[in-house]
């Protein structure tokens, strides 16, 4: 529930709030984790899979998915890859810096749909950032008992690009989680799986397809191949959730950049069920 602070100026649809960077942590050469606090420590009130428009005033805004779970109170986290002007300037910020925040926006994952089911998470590259929000929520002590077996498949180009390596280790050590990680190109020190993400499906623990729900987030090229594997396991169309990346410039369904056929992804998505998008020609190639 959005709350307006009484001292705030009259806000418009495009008004960012000034938030504070509490901490930064370098995850890889390209990715940085930011902990951000809204004025007064107000709760962002997001669902996993939602995003915020983050701005560095003077550089502009960028849509960034929220990587912390809703169970984290008082602040939230975003994982930012350095690719352009805004993200480049974000990477230069130090704790204490001011950033603009609008949101949360879009439709995220509906965690209730996952209750009572075995969960298969599939993340490619930076796709782990939004998926981590849902993974951490479902693994949280307060909620864990609501879900069955949890399996996490994660692939990155090379070991240096793996995100959240400390948490991956934690998940791998948990008895109630199967966490399989692969890289396309190993280095000398890599002892794990080698190959694209679909190669992990061979190592998938035996699943009950009728009671399994899948959440997939990754680069555009990944979806088709992963969905094929998911269908080969016997899971049905209605049990697949995926988050689609588009250029969500305004985040509020007006600017047109994120439109996928007739849908504004920032309004109807970014999280969709496969049943919703299978007829949309621009959704998955």
């Amino acid at each position: 529930m959005p709350v307006t602070s009484p001292t705030a100026e009259p806000r418009t649809l495009y008004t960012s709030e000034i938030a504070e960077v509490l901490a930064t942590r370098k995850l890889t050469e390209k990715e940085m984790l930011f902990t951000i606090r809204l004025p007064g420590g107000r709760d962002l009130g997001h669902a996993p899979g939602q995003f915020v428009e983050v701005s560095v005033f003077g550089s502009g805004e960028a849509p960034i998915s929220i990587t912390s779970p809703p169970t984290q109170k008082g602040d939230f986290e975003i994982c930012v890859r350095r690719v352009g002007l805004v993200t480049g300037d974000l990477h230069r910020l130090e704790p204490g810096a001011a950033v603009g925040v609008r949101g949360p926006y879009g439709r995220g994952f509906d965690i209730r749909e996952f209750e009572g089911k075995d969960i298969l998470y599939v993340a490619g590259g930076l796709g782990l950032a939004p998926l981590r929000s849902l993974i951490k929520a479902t693994l949280s002590p307060a909620l864990r008992s609501k879900f069955g077996r949890i399996t996490i498949l994660y692939g990155a180009k090379n070991p240096g690009e793996l995100l959240y390596t400390d948490e991956l280790r934690e998940w791998q050590e948990r008895g109630d989680v199967t966490c399989l990680v692969t890289v396309d190109r190993p280095d000398e020190a890599w002892r794990g799986n080698v190959g694209v993400i679909t190669t992990l499906f061979k190592k998938l623990p035996k699943t009950k397809p009728a009671n399994t729900i899948v959440a997939i987030v990754g680069p555009p090229v990944m979806y088709k191949f992963v969905i094929l594997e998911v269908f080969m396991v016997g899971i049905s169309e209605s049990q697949i959730r995926l988050s689609l990346e588009r250029r969500m410039k305004c985040g509020v369904g007006k600017c047109g950049h994120c439109q996928m056929n007739g849908l504004y992804v920032c309004q109807k998505g970014p999280v969709f069920s496969y049943s919703e998008i299978k007829g949309l020609r621009e959704a998955i190639r």
Binding site: E9, G60, G100, P220, R247, C255, G256, H257, Y264
Partner: protein, 342 residues
């Protein structure tokens, strides 16, 4: 709906009174012979008998570049101040195509329970006086096909030339106030208006070979047609169609920094889905890399997506895109080539 008349000899006085109350924008003949919407100070600058406006009223509803936010530092602390435009403005002489486009704006910018405050602030301070057409503007018009030759909304008052006078209908309180001093329409005036309406179908010939109610289905059925590739071979992706289109309202948000490198403003600028980078995401993936994908997307927006989203016209048949195309691409001819689902 209040019905009044403005006698033709009373029109200059009527216009001059409007001009006195707020900033007034009206059709003005340019040295080139084109007619454009321009600020006017005197009634005799206003042209009411013009073939068409080269540009729509888009620039007054959604300026090409407008500030939405001021930001900076005050005594070392960062601040943001939202910016809205609340200047009173009167728009005169908009044809039904352009009025219907505004009717579309009104629904789009309040869609999804998300009110675009910048659009709405401006719109709430705007009075619109429409001007009916008795015939199509020129050979590019296809308003009758799109069923937009009659204004369904987007105006406060609407003038129809009935000979010695303009029949004047008020659609809003604002319009009623505008026409308060005008004499009421009589049975004779209403009869003249009815005669014009009866003569309309002959005066507005159709150019699309099918009922445009079928357009969404035809488009869907022709999604994979090579028609798009063929038409796009002539397209330069220059965006002229987007620029002149009254219902192309997509935009970009950019920051402009002051020379002190601390203060600045966030601005909304026109953008267009025909331009190459429109659907590109950071990292380089472009969801409409091919020209025919962009051309198809725009024509789908015009003929299907917008109408399906908000139930109002996505294309108002003004013909400006065809008139402006540097390569003589025609949306009418393209729609006529599509037989998908037919």
């Amino acid at each position: 709906m209040q019905e009044k008349v403005v006698q033709k000899e009373a029109m200059p006085g009527f216009l001059q009174r409007l001009i006195g109350t707020a900033g007034t924008i009206a059709p003005v003949r340019q040295p080139s012979g084109h007619y454009l919407l321009k600020p006017v100070a005197r009634a005799d600058e206003v042209a009411l008998d013009f073939p068409f406006l080269y540009y729509s009223a888009k620039e007054y509803l959604l300026p090409p570049g407008e500030p939405v936010l001021q930001f900076g530092r005050r005594e070392g602390k960062p601040f943001v101040t939202p910016e809205t435009d609340t200047e009173e403005l009167i728009l005169i002489g908009l044809h039904p195509c352009d009025l219907n486009a505004i009717w579309t704006y009104d629904a789009f910018f309040t869609a999804d329970q998300k009110d675009d405050d910048n659009f709405l602030a401006r719109r709430r301070h705007m009075t619109i006086v429409g001007l009916d057409c008795a015939k199509p503007c020129d050979e590019y018009s296809f308003c009758a096909d799109m069923k937009t030759d009659v204004a369904q909304g987007g105006y406060d008052a609407l003038l129809t030339d009935i000979g010695e006078a303009y029949f004047a209908r008020a659609a809003t309180k604002r319009g009623e106030k505008l026409l308060a001093d005008m004499p009421a329409a009589t049975a004779k005036h209403r009869a003249a208006l009815a005669d014009l309406a009866k003569a309309r179908p002959q005066k507005f010939p159709k150019r699309i070979e099918f009922d445009t109610a079928e357009l969404p289905r035809r488009l869907e059925g022709s999604y994979d047609s090579l028609v798009w590739t063929a038409v796009a071979r002539r397209c330069y992706s220059c965006g002229s169609c987007v620029l002149v289109c009254p219902t192309c309202f997509c935009f970009d948000l950019k920051d402009r920094l002051s020379l002190n490198l601390a203060d600045g403003q966030r601005e909304r600028w026109w953008d267009g889905c025909m331009l190459h980078a429109f659907a590109e995401v950071s990292g380089g993936e472009n969801f409409r890399r091919e020209r025919h994908e962009r051309l198809r997307h725009r024509m789908f927006r015009k003929g299907k997506y917008i109408a399906e989203q908000i139930g109002r016209p996505g294309c108002v048949g003004c013909g400006r895109c065809d008139r402006a195309c540097t390569s003589k691409i025609s949306i009418v001819a393209t729609y006529n080539q599509l037989k998908g689902g037919a």
